[in-house]
């Protein structure tokens, strides 16, 4: 399947819908400058947060004189700081992502999804870092908040070709070590990998304070298994070849697939991560806006 050029990754409809919704940080994130997102650091900025009793060592400039005048008590005024965040886009670049029943492969769909999200993040002046992995991290584009770098990100994504097996757990563990500040980690993968390693990776990222969103990228064929007649399935990533009559095993396959998706969802739930099914048969705009709407509602609570 021919790889589209890098410009085609930005879906105008997805961008326009995402632009209005924005990517909000569900958890508090540690930013390096004042931005749209809540910071864990309470300071003396604009927005009042709370009162605190004065203790020795506090700067007397922050005493609330009005309270002192009325009550003879010493209280310090504290203010909340808004900050920016870093989004780490972690893209599965293994060979299994090369499957595609329609015009596009899962890898292309994931690349487009990653590009759109990177653009949206940069657009709201947050920072984005992109990593493409299989058994190890193949591409890494360091953190940037410069919107002009989006072309660079897209060309790097376009240039990547999937050839190897996946090791999702390793990639996630690497990221948890490399990322210095808490941020949002978005994983885009078909998750055909070691399930325990994946859950371990999630736990590590969450332990490091990251918010994790998992986009489970699947092709409609993988969800519905609509094959007829006698079919030889040649396994990607070195899996064995299977020759069978799909009608004979369809029900059983769908049970396996649903069970696997359920396990992934439960792993995400256990670690407080978001699980999002990205069906490549669904338009990019629908998948992205669907999730952003959901996220908007969750963050507004």
């Amino acid at each position: 399947m021919a790889e589209p050029d890098s410009q085609s990754y930005l879906d105008p409809l997805a961008i326009s819908r995402g632009e209005s919704l924005g990517i909000l940080a569900r958890n508090v994130v540690e930013g390096y400058r004042v931005g749209e997102h809540r910071s864990p650091f309470k300071g003396f900025a604009i927005e009042f947060a709370q009162h605190r009793e004065y203790t020795i060592g506090d700067d007397p400039r922050h005493l609330d004189w009005k309270v002192l005048g009325r009550t003879d008590r010493y209280y310090i005024k504290q203010y909340e700081q808004d900050t920016n965040f870093v989004v780490h886009l972690l893209l599965d670049g293994s060979e299994s992502m090369n499957y595609g029943s329609g015009k596009i492969t899962k890898l292309h769909y994931a690349k487009a999804l990653a590009a759109c999200m990177a653009y949206l993040v940069l657009l709201q002046r947050d920072a984005v870092a992109v990593g493409v992995f299989d058994t190890q991290t193949r591409e890494y584009i360091p953190r940037t908040d410069n919107l002009g770098k989006i072309h660079h990100i897209m060309s790097r994504l376009a240039a990547f070709e999937a050839t190897e097996k996946t090791s999702l757990g390793v990639a996630m563990a690497d990221l948890s070590r490399m990322a210095k500040a808490k941020g949002i980690v978005i994983v885009l993968s078909d998750l055909f990998d070691d399930e325990e390693g994946f859950e371990r990776g999630l736990q590590q990222l969450r332990f490091s304070g990251h918010e994790v969103i998992v986009f489970h990228v699947l092709d409609p064929d993988e969800i519905d298994f609509p094959f007829k007649g006698r079919v030889q399935f040649i396994g990607l990533e070195g899996a064995a070849t299977v020759e069978t009559n799909p009608a004979d095993i369809r029900k059983s396959y769908l049970e396996e697939m649903n069970a696997m998706r359920l396990r992934m969802r439960l792993a995400c739930d256990r670690t407080g991560s978001h699980y999002v099914l990205a069906n490549t048969g669904t338009s990019l705009a629908e998948t992205l806006s669907g999730y952003l709407v959901f996220r908007h509602q969750v963050c507004a609570r």
Partner: protein, 719 residues
């Protein structure tokens, strides 16, 4: 078991076809580079055994289906021991005689004897050796060749057999046996056999001696097998007779009918209700016979009335039993609206009571003068010159009493009148000119006898009486029953001796004789009409008849007999064709019939044109009961006739077993006439193919095919 087409069994090799297809078939393979092979592998492993089991089940079913089809076309059949008397190991040429008489309709509650015999024939056919042939005759009092020549196509024979139906005929086996023997003699087949399937009713063996003779004469060439169906001596109650008594059938006049019920069983029957109905309507009269002894008959008199003139039927019935055909009996009759009579008096007398027609006039209208107008019989009294008129056909009967001579024109008119269907009753008297009577060409042609010179009764007794018993003619048969009185007390002091015409054309019959044997009354049919000639007077001048109690009933019976439509031709025996003349204007019109066994009108042809009149013909009269014939769109039947079965058929007693056994014994050596007594063959040595079993195999193959289709469909569904 054996196979009639064993070569087809090579087709069993075709069982390898499904196996080969299963093993060698390479379905077009589609290749997919698949990411989720791990899930796929788990599914395949989980379902592998089930898929293999399904494949094997389908393979076995397909192999079985092929095997069953091959077996089916190989025509498997059971082996039957052919050592019995009826079938030899070699091919036979046979004639099967099936009794289709009325008594074969006796039912055992499940099937009739006729159906049982049909099943037996089916069994006989299935036991014939390959290459055998058979003809099929239906035998009753006639022989009907259903399959006239032996055929090897038993399918046609079976089909023809299935289409045969019972008749209400009597039985006589000899003519059928004779025809079968003649047919087999002309055939070239080796082993020749006759199978007779009958209920062995006594009447069927009336010609037993001839049957023995026939069998004896042909026993070297032809084996006869007599197979008796039905149990011996079953009870049966039957309506064995139905007669109208005396009176004329006229509109609104009660018509008395004598119904005879016979008990052919071996036990006394109690309380038998008898009903009488007209035209198939509800019964008009009924009576109960208290008891009928075994072998005895009882008669009950019932009455019926008719509202409309024309042809009608009367049916007497008793409750149903196992032989339904004889539980009712029908007669057909013509009902008249009015009967007009003309009495020609030879002399005139001012004293009415002394006139020649006085007694006739009063006897013909035996009611009070004020009721005479309502009475159906009208009388007109006239003189000889009345006969010169051309309007005689307005009368149903003309009486001549003491008429000396007729005018030539009167005699000619009278002849035309009788030939056209009129009735003439002649009473001579003192003025009668016997020379004229005997010589006039018209009158002498009408009279059934010549009149001799008047003679006095014997001088010692002064009178001559009529016979007192053994009346043969239907008109006088009533007086055979002493309860009806006696004609023996009729006296004649003087009479004209009657000499019956001896020519072949004459149908003259004596109605009643004098005690000395001389004819007292004679009659004959002339054309469509009838002429009665008395030997003495209709007045008391010479005879006591006019004042005898029997005079009125005698005259009534003569009137009834003379006016009974086509002269008794309305009642037929089963199978007898019916013919009836009607006006020529009806020629070419559609003729339809309502049969006793069918409630609907069926068009059966057209009215045939004749020279002076048209003819209604109907020949399919195998079933007893009333038949109504309709012309064109008429609602009322043009004519009704009735078919009456032979009462003897109701006697279900069978021929003594010894007689049948002797016939069988005489027949058995015929199969091996010259051979020494042979040991009974051991089981298996003389086995021949018997009944084929293709039917259950075909059913099994069909079921298997359906199961295969259903399973293949089910297995191909997504799982």
């Amino acid at each position: 078991m054996t196979f009639l087409n064993p070569a087809v069994l090579f087709g069993l090799l075709a069982i390898s076809l499904p196996v080969a297809i299963h093993l060698l078939s390479k379905p077009r393979l589609k290749t997919v580079r698949w990411a989720a092979n791990r899930l796929l592998l788990r599914s395949v492993q989980k379902n592998r055994r089930r898929v293999q089991a399904e494949d094997i089940i389908l393979l076995i079913l397909r192999c079985l289906l092929v095997a069953l089809l091959v077996l089916l076309f190989a025509r498997p059949a059971f082996l039957t021991d052919a050592a019995g008397p009826q079938v030899g190991g070699e091919a036979s040429t046979a004639v099967i005689l099936l009794d289709d008489s009325e008594s074969m309709g006796q039912s055992d509650g499940v099937q009739t004897r006729f159906d049982e015999a049909k099943s037996m024939i089916d069994g006989i056919l299935s036991k014939f050796a390959p290459g055998s042939s058979s003809a099929l005759f239906l035998v009753s009092d006639r022989v009907k060749a259903v399959i006239p020549k032996p055929t090897q196509d038993f399918a046609i024979l079976r089909r023809s057999l299935a289409q045969t139906s019972l008749t209400d005929r009597g039985t006589d086996l000899y003519p059928g046996l004779k025809q079968a023997v003649d047919l087999l003699k002309s055939s070239t087949g080796g082993h020749r056999e006759i199978f007779v399937l009958t209920d062995s009713q006594v009447g069927a063996w009336n010609q037993l001696a001839q049957i023995r003779q026939l069998q004896e004469a042909n026993k070297k060439e032809i084996a006869m097998h007599f197979i008796t169906v039905g149990a011996k001596g079953e009870d049966n109650l039957a309506v064995s007779g139905l007669q109208m008594i005396g009176t004329v059938a006229a509109v609104n006049q009660p018509l008395r009918c004598a119904i005879q019920v016979s008990n052919w069983g071996k036990s006394t029957v109690q309380s038998v209700p008898v009903k009488l109905a007209a035209d198939g309507d509800a019964p008009q009269d009924e009576a109960m016979i208290d008891q009928i002894e075994p072998g005895a008959s009882k008669v009950v008199n019932l009455f019926v009335r008719f509202r409309d003139p024309g042809y009608h039927s009367i049916t007497a019935s008793i409750p149903g039993d196992r032989l339904p055909a004889d539980n009712q009996r029908s007669v057909a009759l013509l009902v008249l609206e009015q009967i007009r009579t003309l009495i020609i008096e030879g002399t005139t007398n001012p004293d009415p009571s002394a006139r020649d027609g006085f007694f006739l006039r009063h006897a013909l209208v035996p009611v009070r003068p004020d009721q005479a107008d309502q009475y159906y019989l009208k009388t007109t009294v006239g003189q000889v010159n009345e006969l010169d008129s051309s309007t005689l056909n307005q009368y149903e009967l003309i009486f001549l009493s003491n008429v000396a001579q007729l005018t030539p024109l009167g005699a000619q008119n009278l002849q035309k009148y009788v030939e056209a269907g009129g009735a003439l009753i002649v009473f001579p008297g003192p003025t009668t000119d016997i020379n004229f009577y005997n010589s006039d060409p018209s009158l002498s042609a009408l009279l059934p006898a010549k009149l001799g010179p008047a003679r006095e009764a014997s001088p010692d007794k002064k009178f001559l009486g009529w016979q007192s018993k053994d009346y043969q003619h239907p008109v006088t048969a009533l007086w055979n029953d002493p309860e009806s009185g006696s004609l023996g007390t009729v006296r004649a002091a003087k009479y004209f001796p009657l000499t019956l015409k001896g020519d072949d054309k004459s149908s003259a019959q004596i109605v009643v004789k004098y005690a000395n044997g001389e004819p007292a009354v004679v009659e004959q049919a002339v054309g469509k009409g009838r002429v009665f000639l008395f030997s003495s007077t209709a007045t008391t001048a010479w005879s006591s008849l006019p004042i005898h109690p029997a005079f009125v009933p005698l005259l009534m019976r003569i009137v009834a007999y003379s006016t009974s439509g086509s002269g008794g031709k309305l009642d037929l025996a089963p199978g007898q064709p019916f013919a009836f003349e009607i006006d020529s204007e009806y020629a070419g019109k559609e003729l339809s019939v309502q049969r006793p066994d069918d409630k609907k009108h069926r068009i059966v042809g057209r009215v045939e044109p004749g020279e002076r009149s048209a003819l209604l013909r109907y020949a399919d009269t195998e079933v007893s009961g009333p038949y109504q014939l309709f012309v064109g769109d008429d609602v009322k039947p043009k004519v009704v006739f009735a078919v009456q079965a032979d009462p003897a058929e109701s006697n279900l007693a069978q021929e003594p077993k010894a007689d049948i056994d002797s016939l069988l014994a005489a027949s058995e050596p015929a199969a091996q006439p010259d051979a020494a007594p042979e040991e009974k063959p051991k089981t298996g040595e003389h086995l021949v193919p018997g009944e084929e079993i293709w039917y259950p195999l075909a059913i099994a193959a069909l079921v298997l095919a359906l199961v295969e289709i259903a399973l293949a469909h089910r297995f191909s569904q997504s799982k």
